[in-house]
């Protein structure tokens, strides 16, 4: 029935349609923009338990001996990954500001070399910003040859600014098998050369 439309009607149709289509495209982009937005927001507000991916420096920190914080370690291995992975010590009592060394034990129980990546997460989420690692195996990928084991070091301190309401911090590591991804990117790089 379009032949009944006057030209100005058609023009206003077109204007409206292009506005609506732009809106759709914009919202499609917004869906993807949510990914960085979400990360930035969580990072700024320090709410989703993610810790920094780089080493923090341990300088001019005073140890608050009046306070004791319990730090717990838990570990998980992605289903199907042929590694055993456990903290050597499950639970520590520390003073905020104190520099602590601990290790995680990893063992590749399969007969092939495997590459793992550990992803940390701190609970409660608000505590993550106060959990500082000066050295961590999670900063790098871990390579283990068939049937070998390794002691993976972690050095950290708890920021003395940690809110009074937090008494326990739980650090959880999930270990992922990234051997295939490693292979794929190695092949890609090889091809590029």
């Amino acid at each position: 029935m379009t032949n009944h439309h006057q030209p100005d009607k058609l023009k206003s149709n077109h204007k409206l349609i292009s506005m609506l289509v732009m809106g759709c495209i914009g919202m499609f982009g917004f869906g993807f923009a949510l990914v960085p937005l979400y990360d930035v927001l969580c990072d700024k507000l320090g709410i989703n338990g993610k810790t920094a991916n780089t080493a923090s420096s341990y300088q001019a920190i005073t140890i608050d001996t009046s306070r004791i914080v319990t730090v717990e370690f838990i570990s998980q291995v992605q289903t199907g990954m042929p590694w055993k992975f456990e903290p050597q010590t499950k639970r520590l009592e520390v003073h905020p500001g104190e520099l602590i060394h601990t290790v995680f034990l990893a063992r590749n129980v399969s007969d092939r070399a495997t590459v793992g990546q550990a992803i940390p997460s701190v609970s409660p989420g608000q505590g993550a910003a106060y959990f500082n690692k000066t050295e961590c195996f999670c900063f790098n990928q871990q390579h283990l040859a068939a049937s070998t084991s390794a002691e993976l070091p972690l050095i950290f301190f708890v920021d003395p600014q940690l809110p009074e309401s937090i008494h326990t911090l739980t650090l959880s590591y999930t270990l992922y098998d990234i051997t295939d991804k490693q292979l794929a990117s190695a092949i890609e790089q090889g091809a590029a050369k």
Partner: protein
């Protein structure tokens, strides 16, 4: 409220269509809003029966504890595809079908503004659902990760057919977006002279706002499925922690779409009920303008509550509180609506033909769904109810006795206008009473199952839930069978029956009732004058 100057209604059916293609080609090529409306409604009904058959499989398996009939993986495919089909195949296309049939007639327009696009928006739908359903027969099975396709279930652990699932969702999304654009352009540009904004029938208002919601959130859904696709097949890590992504982010993106989506499935119902209740109360709608504002505020608030689906993901307390209060705030405009419908009936001269029965049942039962929603909105309580049958009870009250009942009410109310025949009232009453009793046997006990801790989406359960599940399943079979009465009734009504006058319901208002029944193939070719 509205009156029309009489226009030339003598143009009949045949005058216009002798050169039009016949048979299947008529339907494939049609750009007529009434034809397309009919296609949408039949498609929706077929999908309703298909999704219903899957629900019967679910209820048969849950009739007894233990695994009897189907494999757990197949059970998961049934819950997933049942949900997808009911949301995207039954409820949404039914509303688009009603929009096609009714909006042009209600605003005095000759057709939808973009008739050719209209044809496309319908005809890509059967393809989308063929793809989705065929994935069930692939090796490894169809989608089994729930209609909410949470990562990593839909990425790391999903079957190969996930690519087909993603593709079908893309097509469904494109179809609804095109439908929404068409509705907006039609309402903005094709209103008859004198049809000012605050004279628009409520159904038109609610659909206009729904269309904006669709345009705002369907692209976000498209983005979410695209990310699932690339995570699964192309090595990206949007939702994979190992690669620096975050599975919880999937839920944020999904529910940013998901919560407005549930309002997409209920706002047009509000419009339908606002047409039917006044007609059978023989009184104008109470509080028309507050209805308009309530609809708009529900739509806006629906963007601020998505994380009430995620209370147990470990959000910080202030976020839990923010989303809890925003969610509770939505029940205020919703309450305004319920109040207005009841006030419309107050001291009206009521009669209870089938459309009114469904409308009254809608008001009562939808409100029960609203109340269970409020219970779920209480963050600490939700820790207990989340992912139990209590949630299943909640959303089936708002969607089955809400959205679906309103669609039934609409079908009964406008069938005489569509077919030119009165439906069989006795059969309609049978359909209503069978449905309303069985639907409560089906869904009410689910509240108790949920409170007692029975998890959703699991094919087996501990034996203390056995008795109640048996009752629920019996209600389910009865409700499923009752819908066949409706199928018979509609076919009989199309084939014949008492001749319907232009305005079969004495209390009804609106331009569509100024047209003869059945509404001529081309209506309002010259716009009516609305005073």
């Amino acid at each position: 409220m509205m009156s029309t100057t009489t226009q030339d209604q003598s143009i009949t059916h045949d005058d216009h269509h002798h050169d039009a293609p016949k048979g299947i080609m008529r339907w494939l090529l049609t750009t007529n809003h009434k034809d397309i409306g009919t296609l949408y409604l039949w498609f929706s009904f077929i999908m309703f029966l298909t999704g219903g058959a899957m629900a019967m499989v679910i209820r048969a398996e849950l009739f007894q504890p233990g695994l009897q009939l189907v494999e757990p993986n197949f059970f998961n495919q049934m819950t997933t595809v049942h949900g997808l089909i009911m949301v995207f195949g039954a409820v949404m296309p039914a509303f688009t079908g009603l929009a096609n049939w009714l909006i042009p007639m209600m605003i005095g327009a000759p057709d939808m503004a973009l008739p050719r696009m209209n044809n496309w928006s319908f005809w890509i739908l059967p393809f989308a659902f063929t793809i989705l359903l065929s994935s069930l027969f692939m090796e490894g099975g169809g989608p089994n990760f729930g209609w909410t396709f949470y990562a990593p279930l839909s990425t790391t652990y999903s079957p190969d057919s996930t690519a087909l699932f993603v593709f079908s969702i893309h097509i469904m999304g494109i179809s609804s977006i095109m439908g929404a654009i068409n509705v907006i352009v039609t309402i903005v540009n094709l209103r008859a002279p004198g049809m000012t904004w605050m004279k628009l029938p409520m159904f038109v208002w609610t659909w206009l706002i729904t269309a904006f919601l669709l345009i705002a959130v369907m692209p976000v859904l498209a983005g979410a499925v695209t990310m699932v696709l690339t995570d699964k097949f192309f090595g990206t890590s949007f939702f994979e922690a190992a690669g620096g992504g975050d599975p919880v982010m999937f839920q944020h993106i999904f529910w940013f779409f998901g919560h407005p989506e549930v309002y997409i499935m209920i706002l047009p119902s509000f419009g339908i009920i606002s047409a039917i209740v006044p007609a059978f109360s023989r009184k104008p709608l109470f509080g028309y303008s507050s209805m308009v504002y309530a609809t708009a505020s529900i739509a806006i608030l629906s963007f601020l509550v998505w994380a009430h689906h995620m209370f147990t993901t470990g959000m910080p307390v202030f976020a839990e509180l923010f989303f809890m209060y925003c969610t509770m705030l939505i029940s205020v405009p919703t309450g305004v609506k319920v109040f207005n419908w009841v006030a419309t009936m107050w001291r009206g001269s009521l009669s209870f033909e089938t459309p009114m029965l469904f409308a009254v049942a809608f008001i009562v039962l939808f409100t029960i769904g609203g109340f269970s929603g409020l219970m779920l909105a209480i963050t600490p309580a939700d820790f207990q109810y989340h992912d139990t049958y209590f949630v299943v009870a909640h959303f089936h009250y708002v969607l089955v006795t809400g959205a679906i009942f309103s669609i039934m009410a609409a079908a009964y109310y406008w069938l005489p206008k569509w077919t030119g025949h009165m439906y069989n009232e006795r059969l309609g009453q049978w359909h209503f009473w069978c449905s309303v009793i069985s639907v409560n046997v089906l869904f009410f006990p689910m509240h108790f199952l949920g409170l007692a801790g029975m998890p959703r989406r699991i094919p087996d359960y501990s034996i203390q839930f056995a008795d109640v599940n048996q009752i629920v399943s019996i209600g389910g079979f009865a409700f499923g069978l009752s819908q066949l009465i409706f199928l018979v009734l509609v076919i009989k009504c199309i084939r014949g029956g008492e001749k319907a006058p232009a305005k079969p319901w004495e209390g009804s208002e609106g331009l569509e009732w100024t047209l003869p029944s059945p509404a001529p193939y081309h209506s309002f070719t010259t716009p009516p004058e609305v005073k």
